[in-house]
């Protein structure tokens, strides 16, 4: 597909990286040629210097042949305007705009409909939903929804107190009487797709596929806090904090927000009358302890400073048992940060990019590919894909145990008429199923690609 991206900032660049890896024709537009240079040097994309809302620039970029137009500049209004122009100029391509102003967010339905925008992304809102989801399962590090939320892929780290060291995957399942499926195991930088005989070790980062109920059952049986959290301490009162607080309050969680700027505190107090707003410096240790850090069941560091967020999370780790979430926006030392063992670190730019890549995959559905959802796991080394089975093929002809599957591949779950099945050898894939496949091979476009 031909895709135009306007705005070559953090998010634009990340989206370009992802989409270029999936072999789309990308054209980046930015006002500053200096910003384009590093991207066009590093990726196989075309860069055009100019204003993405100008018709002549859009024509230069080949808007008539474009399938998707993504506007992710710093300004909401410009993004919306760009999309409007692009739609008119191309005669109806799909458009995605980034709109982050909470005011517009509330009126997003009207804006989408009137301006004909296909999708609106709000990185802060996405980040807030992600954090809220993480806080629901405090033991999980990362959660990705599949099959419209009926199945979830959860990452967690095996700890000594689970008592699973040296057990095989099969033993673990029978010992805990659970119905979860272990999809991947990351150990010392290597990723494995385990079979039943795979031996687990403490410190492994495993991902499991389960329905939300089975997942919570699994956590109860592991003996870890499937206990719901009741309160959370948020440091940093930005837009994410507002969205997050609303979500958490819906779940009945008590929210305390620490914010350094008194004026912002007042605004927060207005918007969030049921939350406790605390004015003070989040980087002040005594202050944090005095507002009850030690008793916090969860701690969310979402200030504007990445370094501060990481340090705050480290401090909270030392002084409390809270579930930790830290936001990293700008810095790109993912693996170093992961090695700090902070619990969950969220990267809003990746979340936004993931979101868009999913949309693009879904769009491609109508032109050939059958991928419904795609997640990149373990630093992009593993892909979890959801396929829709539309017709009879080699895949539906035999039972799973008889299929000749490629190596490094696992059929994680089958979603059939609203029900989630954990696949067994005697099961058979049927037309109309959604099949979730976890694999280390990249570039699957159809369910038939899983066969050797």
């Amino acid at each position: 597909m031909q895709i135009i991206i306007v705005g070559c900032g953090k998010v634009g660049k990340t989206i370009a990286e992802r989409l270029s890896a999936e072999d789309h024709d990308l054209i980046m537009i930015d006002l500053q040629g200096k910003k384009l240079q590093p991207v066009t040097d590093a990726l196989d994309v075309m860069g055009i210097e100019g204003n993405g809302a100008s018709i002549s620039v859009l024509m230069d970029a080949g808007i008539e042949k474009t399938d998707l137009f993504i506007a992710v500049t710093g300004s909401d209004e410009l993004n919306l305007f760009c999309c409007l122009m692009a739609r008119k100029a191309s005669g109806g391509c799909k458009t995605i705009a980034r709109v982050r102003n909470p005011l517009y967010s509330q009126e997003i339905g009207f804006i989408k409909e009137q301006l004909g925008i296909s999708m609106v992304i709000n990185p802060e809102l996405t980040a807030a939903s992600e954090i809220a989801r993480l806080l629901r399962f405090p033991s999980a590090i990362k959660i990705d929804p599949f099959a419209k939320g009926r199945a979830e892929l959860l990452n967690l780290k095996l700890r000594p107190e689970f008592g699973l060291d040296g057990e095989t995957v099969m033993k673990m399942v029978s010992k805990l009487h659970t119905r979860v499926l272990v999809c991947t195991v990351e150990r010392e930088g290597k990723v494995y797709i385990p079979n039943g005989e795979f031996v687990l070790r403490d410190g492994d980062l495993i991902s499991i596929m389960a329905t939300p109920q089975d997942a919570s059952d699994f956590f109860v049986k592991l003996g870890v806090s499937s206990k719901r959290i009741h309160n959370t301490l948020i440091v940093g009162g930005g837009a994410i904090a507002v969205y997050l607080t609303r979500r958490l309050q819906e779940m009945g969680i008590d929210v305390h927000i620490v914010e350094i700027d008194p004026k912002r505190c007042e605004a927060l107090a207005q918007q969030l009358p049921h939350a406790t707003i605390l004015n003070g410096d989040g980087a002040d240790q005594d202050f944090l302890l005095s507002v009850g850090l030690e008793r916090a069941e969860s701690f969310v560091a979402i200030t504007n400073m990445d370094e501060e967020n990481l340090l705050l999370a480290l401090f909270a780790k030392k002084n409390s048992d809270a579930k930790l979430v830290a936001k990293v926006n700008r810095i790109a030392f993912d693996d170093v940060i992961d090695s700090l063992d902070l619990g969950s670190v969220i990267y809003p730019k990746y979340l936004t990019a993931d979101y868009i890549v999913q949309y693009v995959r879904a769009m491609q559905n109508s032109i050939g590919s059958n991928v419904e959802t795609l997640y990149k796991l373990m630093d992009d080394r593993v892909e979890a894909l959801e396929f829709r089975v539309r017709e009879e093929s080699g895949v539906t002809a035999k039972t799973l145990s008889e299929l000749d599957l490629k190596k490094g591949l696992l059929i994680a779950c089958i979603h059939r008429r609203g029900q989630v099945l954990y696949p067994r050898g005697q099961n058979r894939i049927q037309v109309g199923d959604s099949v979730i496949v976890v694999t280390t091979t990249k570039g699957f476009r159809d369910i038939r690609d899983i066969l050797r």
Binding site: Q2, S20, D25, L26, I27, G33, T40, D41, A42, L43, D44, V45, M46
Partner: protein, 479 residues
């Protein structure tokens, strides 16, 4: 220095070269010539060398700019060395340095020969000679890019190093499709020329070899008198196609997309055509009386101007006998060269345009020191980085030129010979004046002088910096 990425590219270039020898080998079969086996040996050598190179290399390694430049320079050297094998083995050019000179002259589309007579050569060797022009014209790495896929930004760094001109833009979002389009246009134009030549009664072999030489703006003739003995119609066809191949290929791309306005907006095109028209007019006037009719005069003038400005190097007359005004114009045209993004060599019209415009800006700056003004071309502002690199290019160009003239003057030839020999090889033209004039050849130079000229040809074709990089010790450091 990322060794594996470079060896991977070189390995593939060699593999490609083996494939590109197939047509010449077929020619030897068609004409039942015994020399066909030399291509078999050369192909085997290329393939054998490519195996360890590709095995040691890594495809998924990302290249930086320096790896891109080094890979291009080393690929061209490897290409030339292996390309010389058929000449040596077949006995056409037994001396290795001479054979290398001839091959480099072919790949860089120079067309300077060390052979006093080509008509005695077997046809397959003649075909290979002309085919090297065609390969080198658009660039072997561009071809490679259209065939294989590399990691992310590697493409751009390779393409930048091989494509002529001050700045390289893509025609489409992907390098691979850009490369395919460029080669598509290239092949189509070449075939068109073959058809026109066949229509003029040229034999199949001659028209193929001539078209290949024209397409790459190379200039190896297959007759000792180059193009002189062909009919006026054929000479005119070659003139037109030389000029066409000297035009920026972006123009054709825009025309293909029916973006006529954008195609006509390219200033370089108009300057290029303008310079040609003016030179033809001036020379025709200057050499009036040399030939029987006005038509013949204009035909020879046009052919010589086209051959020199597009840096091809065919000839229909010995222009060394022309009056000095005409010779001076031709020597100056050597430096101008063709358009950026074409198959021609030289400094390029667009670079001179940028230089001219920056001189004008500088002059204005003396009038109004506070004035802020940017350099504009094709209706856009030109990036300061492009202007800077153009200035740098000129500086390095002059420096290398001076050093080369000095180095080959050790041979003790006269000044005009030395000067035009360097001008003709550095700008990838072919014939110069005096001892290296259109009816002479480069065979008399000493091996050292030939090596200097080989370097000049490669440096001129690859836009100087890739070759210079090889001499920078830091290039070879690991960090």
């Amino acid at each position: 220095m990322n060794g594996p990425a470079i060896t991977f590219i070189i390995g593939w270039v060699l593999r490609l070269e083996a494939a590109l020898m197939v047509p010449s080998w077929l020619v030897s079969h068609i004409y039942r010539e015994q020399e066909g086996w030399v291509f078999g040996v050369a192909m085997a050598v290329c393939l054998l060398l490519s195996i360890p190179l590709i095995a040691a290399g890594k495809k998924r390694k990302l290249f930086q700019t320096r790896e891109g430049l080094a890979a291009v320079a080393l690929s061209w050297i490897a290409l030339s060395v292996c390309g010389a094998i058929p000449f040596v083995l077949s006995g056409a050019i037994p001396d290795p340095v001479d054979a290398l000179f001839e091959t480099v002259s072919g790949f860089t589309t120079t067309g300077a020969s060390i052979l006093p007579s080509v008509e005695r050569l077997p046809r397959c060797i003649l075909f290979w000679r002309s085919f090297t022009h065609w390969i080198g014209g658009m660039g072997v790495l561009v071809f490679l890019l259209s065939v294989i896929r590399l990691a992310g930004g590697s493409h751009m760094n390779l393409m930048k190093a091989e494509s002529p001109g001050p700045s390289v833009g893509k025609l489409t979002p992907k390098v691979q499709s850009t490369a395919k389009i460029l080669y598509g246009i290239y092949i189509a134009l070449t075939l068109l020329e073959v058809l026109f030549l066949l229509a003029g009664g040229m034999s199949m072999f001659d028209s193929l070899a001539t078209s290949l030489g024209t397409a790459g703006t190379g200039g190896f003739g297959i007759r000792d008198d180059s193009m002189a003995s062909y009919s006026p119609y054929l000479q005119n066809v070659v003139t037109v196609f030389m000029i066409l191949f000297g035009i920026n290929f972006n123009v054709y791309f825009f025309l293909l997309c029916k973006k006529v306005k954008q195609a006509l907006r390219i200033e370089e095109l108009w300057w290029y055509l303008g310079v040609i028209a003016a030179s033809v007019a001036a020379i025709s006037w200057n050499v009036r009386g040399f030939y029987h009719t006005a038509g013949e005069t204009v035909r020879h003038a046009a052919f010589q101007v086209a051959t020199v400005i597009t840096t091809s190097g065919f000839s229909t007359v010995d222009f060394d006998l022309w009056p000095s005004l005409s010779k001076t114009i031709l020597v100056l045209l050597m430096f101008i060269g063709a358009c950026a993004g074409s198959t021609g060599g030289g400094i390029k019209v667009s670079r001179l345009l940028i230089l001219w415009k920056s001189v004008r800006l500088e002059c204005r700056r003396y009038l109004h020191p506070q004035e802020v003004r940017t350099l504009r071309m094709d209706g856009h502002g030109v990036d300061g980085e492009v202007v800077r690199s153009t200035h740098m290019y000129m500086a390095v160009y002059l420096l290398l030129f001076a050093v080369s003239v000095l180095a080959i003057s050790l041979d003790g030839k006269d000044l005009i010979t030395n000067f035009t020999a360097v001008a003709a090889t550095f700008n990838n033209i072919g014939p110069g004046l005096s001892l290296v004039g259109p009816v002479h050849n480069f065979g008399f130079f000493s091996p050292f002088a030939k090596l200097v000229l080989i370097f000049d040809m490669l440096a001129g074709r690859l836009e100087l910096f890739p070759m210079l990089m090889l001499f920078l010790p830091q290039t070879w450091k690991r960090f």
